[in-house]
Symmetry: C2
Subunit: 332 residues, 2 copies
Amino acid sequence: MDTTKENKNYTIDDIARELGISKTTVSRALSGKGRISPATTQRVKEFISTHNYSPNVMARGLAQNKTYNIALLLPADYGENEVAFFREFMNGICKTAGKNNYDVLISMVDGQLERMIANHKIDGIILSRSMVDTSSQKYLKETGVPFVVVGSSTEDGVVCIDNSNMEASRELTNILLMKGMRKLVILGGNESYQVTQNRLEGFMNAHRDQKIIIDYSRVFLDIDSYAKASKAVEKALAMDADCIVAMDDYVCNLVLECLNEKKIKVPSDIKVASFYDSKQLAHNSPPVTSLHFNTKVLGENACGKLLSMLGEKMEESSEDMNYQVILRESTK
Amino acid sequence: MDTTKENKNYTIDDIARELGISKTTVSRALSGKGRISPATTQRVKEFISTHNYSPNVMARGLAQNKTYNIALLLPADYGENEVAFFREFMNGICKTAGKNNYDVLISMVDGQLERMIANHKIDGIILSRSMVDTSSQKYLKETGVPFVVVGSSTEDGVVCIDNSNMEASRELTNILLMKGMRKLVILGGNESYQVTQNRLEGFMNAHRDQKIIIDYSRVFLDIDSYAKASKAVEKALAMDADCIVAMDDYVCNLVLECLNEKKIKVPSDIKVASFYDSKQLAHNSPPVTSLHFNTKVLGENACGKLLSMLGEKMEESSEDMNYQVILRESTK
DNA sequence: CTGAAAGCGCTTACAG
DNA sequence: CTGAAAGCGCTTACAG
């Protein structure tokens, strides 16, 4: 047995020859398809591990009409606050892709995805948040390349994956209610967004869970300016709410500014919580209770979903829970 | 002529058959290798464009023993201020990769790169800044896969690409000198870093360009704390410098803090410039004059370099200039 | 449980 | 200028 570094790139033919069996058998021992005697399988496995063989994925791809690549479509110019999102998201995707022997191609310039498809370089696509305009989804449907979109889609027949906004919001709301708060007011952004609906639904469901009656007079949507936030906050104060729940960090920051302006103290005068975390909220004084979503897990889930669409059987349940409630001083 | 959407995936065989020529000829007409009559070439080109043919890159790869993929090695956990860097960098890489019909695979989890290499999925690698520990470079050298590193390397025989720190610093310094400043003081970080040396060299060269004598009493390196910055700033003030040049934004921020603390006004009492820009500097009051590097161009250059190592003939000069001097109020 | 053979869609000596 | 044929390294009916 030679201990020198193996530099030769073994092929399946080499193995067959060295082991005195056919390459069909080698192939099957490697893939686990078809019945092969345990003994032969064993011999093959040993050979490949001592000789450091690894199959040529390009060749396998050609034979199987697969590439073992997926594309991740990224916006070319995402903003500062999304940047952390995309890094973690990519990280999660890479992780589960790698586990399943897939690689991730990135596409962030015009025409790149089209080229990948034309060149047969990918088996599937992940459309990241904010890349999901309807026309590109229509285009993708036409090409027939499987894809998942992160977020929500209005197109039908499109597979979406997102943070579990409803469940998470429900959980945070439940916790607030269990802490004894009874009069929660909720402020959110664009009413037509799916995410707004989901978060609101979670909020409502929690009230139902605890048999607490709530009506829409405590719901303020389409908050997209300081002025609107200010009005909503005034109403909340007027109705003597004990906590203001913001659907996202943007709205929450508006709320905090309003309260600050009006010299209302958090949490002594009124409590505050957010359905979406951000560094600012964590470092606010006082720090704000909020939901924290694990974007890496979101990436893992998105990739897992896509791979199973590609016929891969995923090992673990690929739908890990990806949120947690972080209780901070603002609801003390 | 059918106007229906072409769904069939044409192969080179189909084209050959339809056109009544051999697939050898089709292949050559497509690749431009070997002599083919202009007429046949024309016919083939027409056919492929009307029938929307694009070659199967996996198959071509197998035949040529190439993949038309490059890997981009990214740190899994880069910090906040690097995040913008990596996005732009990736953008540049994608752009020139795409132009040359290459795709870029991302690798940010352990073992992923090794797998890509073992699986024959890449032709070359770009090691991004802060991924350049010596051991991985040694490993890569062993594998024989071509790679470029961004930044500087101490390993020999390694191809590096970086911002043109020397040239850029020289230019900014020259501009300051031409504005009439005569006593510049420079503060920089870790002396052993290549980048520090390059920036210092540019600073010195500019003085030489203008026949201005300068000695090392005006150079303060290894500034890595407020205390050290403060001492250097005091000395600068004591020697009546008219401008403090910081080698990077971190050092520059220290300088600004010191000046602020000492109630020294910029630019009326002393001017300030930085060899590396950041948002903070741009939004400082007053905004700080600095060099701005175009990271996207850096990415394009890195990719161009790698592709030419892979035997691709690059179209444009792939070594675009990637910096510019931004004059702001701090040197008014 | 195993093999011979055809095939995946290209490229490229070699021969004309 | 063009083609027939072998080959890239795998997989997979088909046959035993």
